[in-house]
Amino acid sequence: MVDSSTIQVYRTSTGLPTGRVAMWWFLASEVAIFGGLIMSFIMCRVAHPEWSEYAEYTVNAAGAFNTIVLLTSSLSAVLAHAAAARREYARAANLLWATVGGGLVFLCVKAYEYSHEIHEGFTPVTNLFWGFYFFMTGLHGLHVIIGMSALAYVATKVRHGKLVEGVEYAGMYWHLVDIIWIFLFPLLYLAS
């Protein structure tokens, strides 16, 4: 008997799996959220040339390291998807855990950065640049946590050959998280 919780996998009018259609729409809405925020930042940044001085105090080395970490975790996510497509479920699960690990490293470095900056006297209320910095990276960090949770959940399932399509969908979400960071890094760290 078909029960309605899995109906999305069995029927498609477009030829695409329903989960993937849903994930693209969801990601489109996330693009609108972060896009609006990033555009607001860019406009304020243009209006306040003096922010280039404040941006000197973001830790470029940490930001660059985090960029490498996220790019590598995106690689492991897409390799996990390729492994799952070949039915190599153990390999897929391991690669997903590697992705989760990348997210964890990212968060630890971010935590270090935050504590360093606050120690230096830069808090979200110091001025508008730092308000944006903490808000944008904070919202991004929240999405990293959500992504890690989704990936971990899928990893536990896919090891036993279940929820295989979740590897792709959680991976897509993770790639978006990576893309957002690809823009945040130059905006907050390099434009100084």
């Binding site: 896009g35 990033i38 406009m43 280039s52 470029n60 660059a64 130059p186 390099l190 434009a191």
Partner: protein, 200 residues
């Protein structure tokens, strides 16, 4: 297409992404000029495009899915275009210790051209001050015609009001230094004096 080849191509793309990041890092260390920032941003866009099309496989999706994501990007672009003038151009804070063109003495600019000033006035000032300079009976702004004290001020004083804005008894005049060039302000003052008042 064997599965091994796929993995290798993903790793190759990862390599390109890392190289692009290092290029951006190096460029940023070298210079903070505007064009460098623009190049860095373009590199970021290219990296994002690689991830979207190759890791997320957007390039293999049907056209309408590509349209959905393009639509989301277009929506964000609409927001940027519509709000740019109000936020990006509205605030020009003077960095400490640095004189700005707005602080340049009026005398260093060309003498005011009332004709050009009339055009500027007609675009930016007429909404509050009225085409007749009477500001709807002095309710939406200063009336230059009915209140002689307004144009009795010096050019420099009026220039300061235009550039920095003013909060007065009638209301709030916004600052125009982000929108108008100093020469335009000088021209507007010439128009005001020619059309509405006498010289001090």
């Amino acid at each position: 297409m064997s599965a091994e080849n796929h993995d290798k191509s993903y790793i190759a793309i990862w390599g390109v992404l890392l190289v692009a990041m290092i290029v951006s890092l190096v460029l940023a260390e070298v210079s903070g000029a505007g064009w460098v920032i623009a190049v860095i941003f373009l590199v970021a866009t290219a990296k994002a495009w690689l991830v979207v099309s190759r890791f997320m496989h957007l390039s293999q999706e049907p056209r309408w899915i590509k349209g959905v994501m393009a639509g989301a990007a277009a929506v964000v672009a609409c927001f940027l275009v519509g709000v740019w003038g109000d936020v990006a151009l509205a605030w020009s804070v003077i960095p400490a210790g640095q004189a700005t063109p707005e602080a340049a003495p009026v005398a260093e600019l060309q003498a005011g051209n009332a004709e050009k000033g009339a055009k500027v006035y007609g675009t930016y000032c007429v909404g509050c001050h009225g085409a007749d300079g009477k500001a709807n009976g002095g309710t939406t702004g200063a009336s230059f015609v009915d209140d002689p004290s307004r144009l009795a001020k010096s050019d420099a004083e009026i220039m300061a009001s235009i550039a920095d804005g003013k909060t007065g008894t009638i209301g709030v005049m916004p600052p125009w230094k982000g929108t108008l060039q100093p020469q335009q302000m000088v021209d507007v003052i010439a128009h005001l004096r020619a059309s509405f008042g006498a010289k001090p």
